[in-house]
Amino acid sequence: MKINNIHIKSGKNTPEVIGDVKSNKLTIHGNSYPEDIKLFYKPVISWLENISKNSNKICVDCQFYYISSSSVISTLKLLQQTESLFDKVNIIFNWRYEIGN
């Protein structure tokens, strides 16, 4: 099964999402406060499910500037989903934040 990269460009209130198959890396950077957060992350979760069929390792790299509480919960759910799809020892999770935030 051929899995494509995913690239969602950043919007006014949504982050840029880059999923790279070659490096097994999912990057989510920017603002995250859309009204329908579930809808936004749906393709991202599908991409994770697909890549997990071909690989058992993943790196998730998150850096948010402004993030709403519903996005915080959705990000947590996304990480829990990642944990259920990949071997725990093969998950690298980077949470980047500004000092004092």
């Binding site: 406060y33 009204e35 957060i37 402004y66 709403s68 509480s69 519903s70 915080v72 919960i73 959705s74």
Partner: protein, 191 residues
């Protein structure tokens, strides 16, 4: 029919005006005021324009971020949970004001009367907790929380309280047998 619609807007407008009068009496200048329905564009522009105004005023980055976050939560609360009047209008208001040491943000929307006790009890519970207690409440909801059908996470009030570092002041003005105007009035230190 018109009388009923006017009455809903009238009660909310009275509260909005009363809050602005209090701000002015306390030497606050009004940075932004909106009464009526809140569009998606409003939702995006209000925090961004407030951020720009705060940068011009020389506010600290940390204060700007706190206010931006409060606005995101408050405006999403209005859009996701604000009830509509009999004419289908999601009557709401937003005021942002500042003086030398503080910012004030007031957010008003219609709520169903059956939720007035739940909401006031929830805010009282948050206000009674200290910062550690609020953190525990936040983590508890975060761990067990789900995004509701409306898109809310149940973290809005507690996030606003934690970001403001002050008690959440609120008013509930009964409009009629089914609706009330709910107003949050939030104080944020500029330091």
């Amino acid at each position: 029919m018109d009388k009923e619609i006017n009455n809903v807007a009238k009660v909310c407008f009275s509260r909005c005006s009363a809050i602005k009068d209090i701000y002015k009496k306390n030497d606050y200048s009004i940075l932004f005021s909106h009464f009526g329905e809140l569009s998606v564009d409003n939702m995006n522009h209000i925090p961004i324009n407030t951020e720009k105004a705060m940068l011009v005023s020389g506010d600290k980055k940390a204060t700007i971020k706190r206010i931006f976050n409060i606005l995101i939560e408050g405006l999403q609360n209005i859009r996701l949970h604000g009830e509509k009047d009999v004419d289908g209008n999601q009557v709401s208001f937003v005021n942002i004001a500042k003086e030398e040491l503080h910012y004030k943000i007031s957010l008003g929307n219609l709520i169903n009367n059956e939720y007035t006790n739940t909401i006031s009890n929830r805010i009282d519970e948050i206000n009674l907790a200290d910062q550690d207690g609020q953190k525990r409440m936040y983590v508890d909801i975060l761990t067990n929380g789900e995004i509701s059908k409306k898109g809310g996470a149940g973290l809005g009030f507690i996030t606003m309280a934690m970001k403001s570092k002050n008690k959440l002041n609120f008013y509930i003005d009964k409009v009629d047998n089914s609706l009330s105007c709910f107003t949050l009035d939030i104080l944020i230190d500029r330091k």
